[in-house]
């Protein structure tokens, strides 16, 4: 336990790498290589930039500009409009079928109508009479 918490003894530095000493450079006799000239990148960068700018402009224009009139109508091309006159449909009598009409109070049935009287419920044979009360509660 005390070894863990106690002072740790500093290790000595490794001695396998001796300090460098003065010596002659190894490659001092070889001639320096000649640097090759690089092509100028600026024209190509300008060309790429212009192309990107054109593409972005085209994209924005496509998104923002309103659709052409033909596109709204569902057609991409102009269509020659032709007015076609349909032959008049022969007049046919419209037959309204009304089977039952419940007459409100005050209404009368049409002349040819069959009038069915709604059966009124038969009152129960119970007569309960309202009258002036006798003694009061």
């Amino acid at each position: 336990m005390s070894g863990i918490r106690g002072h740790r003894t500093a290790r000595p530095a490794p001695e396998s790498h001796p300090a460098p000493t003065e010596a002659a450079p190894v490659h001092a006799a070889r001639p320096a290589p000649v640097a090759r000239a690089k092509p100028d990148a600026r024209p190509l960068r300008i060309a790429y930039g212009m192309g990107a700018l054109a593409a972005a402009t085209a994209l924005v224009t496509a998104l923002v500009s309103p659709p052409p009139a033909g596109a709204a109508a569902g057609s991409a091309t102009d269509v020659a409009l032709t007015t076609v006159t349909l032959p008049a449909e022969p007049a046919r009598p419209v037959k309204h079928v009304i089977q039952y009409v419940q007459l409100e109070p005050g209404q009368t049935a049409p002349p040819n109508a069959t009038v069915k009287v709604v059966p009124t419920p038969k009152p129960r044979v119970v007569t309960i009479t309202t009258k002036q009360s006798g003694a009061k509660p």
């Binding site: 419920p121 129960r124 044979v125 309960i128 009479t129 309202t130 002036q132 009360s133 006798g134 509660p137």
Partner: protein
């Protein structure tokens, strides 16, 4: 036919003249009738089906309803000294507690006062007793009472548990004109599980009819015992939204007294503090509830035929039948729909 009242001291209604129950088509109605409140009270129920068990269930419910109605009536009568109303009238203070049933009826009385334009007034007991037993007049042998008081202002303080009545000291109440209709409606509410039911509180009738169900009701003719002025066939209709009715009658020909050379009756006009001077012998109102019908019928008699027809036109009543002292029978237009 003329009306003769002058030579009679008191006209007493015939016994058990309120309900005539005859055998009915299937399913048979269940009717339980008993004497109560000085008259006849009946409960009539249509069972839910034709079975024996359903009929027994309806009979139990009808009897139970009658018992409850009797218990309520015992709290509201002024003819016993132990009722809640009698205790209130006997209390001396200006602020007196009342129990829930009496509080509910007094609450309705306050509404009925508004409904009738102030004509229905439950604080007129002294005036009524004075009319019945005038000081030093007539053939009455009963002790005389004090003159009608002028200050009849009263109010209710509703607490969470107890309701208090605040009134001038000595002001006494008479629930004539509001209690029986209230009782009939309240009792009918106990029979909600049956398709059709009727509670007849001695002539003030609460009615609920199922769709297409039709029952016949008579309006007693005060001039002829066991005769009807008219009969009404009331029909329940879901289409018209009509299924609940109240039918009540008020008049001057039953509680009527002759003192010396003049006759008087029990319907006090609060505007003069005396029996109303009216040309109506009897008024019957068909309304949505029995308590409304009772209040409006009483108000109609007190107002007189001309003012009554105007007043009734301002209410949503199903019909009204007024019998005048000229033997005229006046019907509001809506009444004709129900004539048998």
């Amino acid at each position: 036919m003329s009306l003769v009242f002058a030579d009679q001291t008191v006209l007493v209604p015939g016994p058990s003249a309120t309900a005539t129950v005859e055998p009915a088509p299937e399913p048979a109605l269940v009717s339980v009738v008993t004497g109560m409140m000085g008259g006849t009270v009946g409960v009539h129920v249509r069972p839910v089906d034709d079975g024996v068990a359903a009929a027994a269930d309806a009979r139990r419910a009808a009897r139970s309803t009658l018992r409850r109605l009797g218990a309520w009536a015992d709290r509201l009568t002024r003819f016993t000294e132990t009722s809640d109303l009698a205790r209130l009238n006997a209390s001396a203070g200006v602020r007196a507690p009342v129990k829930p049933t009496l509080a509910a009826v007094l609450d309705w009385a306050r509404q009925a006062e508004g409904l009738s334009g102030g004509i229905v007034d439950v604080a007129l007991l002294d005036a009524r007793l004075a009319a019945e037993h005038p000081v030093g007049g007539g053939r009455s042998t009963t002790a005389t009472t004090a003159a009608p008081r002028l200050d009849r202002t009263w109010s209710m303080d509703r607490g969470s548990r107890v309701t208090f009545i605040r009134r001038p000291a000595g002001l006494r109440f008479d629930l004539d004109g509001v209690a029986k209709g209230w009782l009939a409606d309240r009792a009918l509410g106990l029979l909600g599980s049956f398709p059709s039911a009727v509670v007849d509180a001695d002539g003030d009738i609460a009615i609920r009819l199922g769709d297409g169900e039709s029952w016949r009701f008579g309006i007693a003719d005060p001039r002829s015992k066991d005769a009807d002025l008219l009969e009404l066939d009331l029909v329940g209709s879901d289409r018209d939204g009509v299924g609940a009715f109240g039918l009540a009658t008020s008049g001057t020909s039953v509680h009527r007294w002759v003192h010396g050379d003049h006759a008087t009756h029990h319907l006090i006009d609060p505007r003069i503090g005396r029996p109303a001077r009216t040309d109506i012998v009897q008024a019957t109102v068909l309304a949505g509830t029995a308590r409304e019908a009772e209040a409006l019928a009483k108000a109609a008699v007190i107002l007189g035929s001309e003012a009554a027809l105007v007043a009734l036109s301002g209410h949503d009543v199903h019909g009204a039948v007024l019998l005048t002292e000229r033997n005229e029978l006046l019907l509001t237009p809506s009444t004709t729909r129900w004539l048998a």
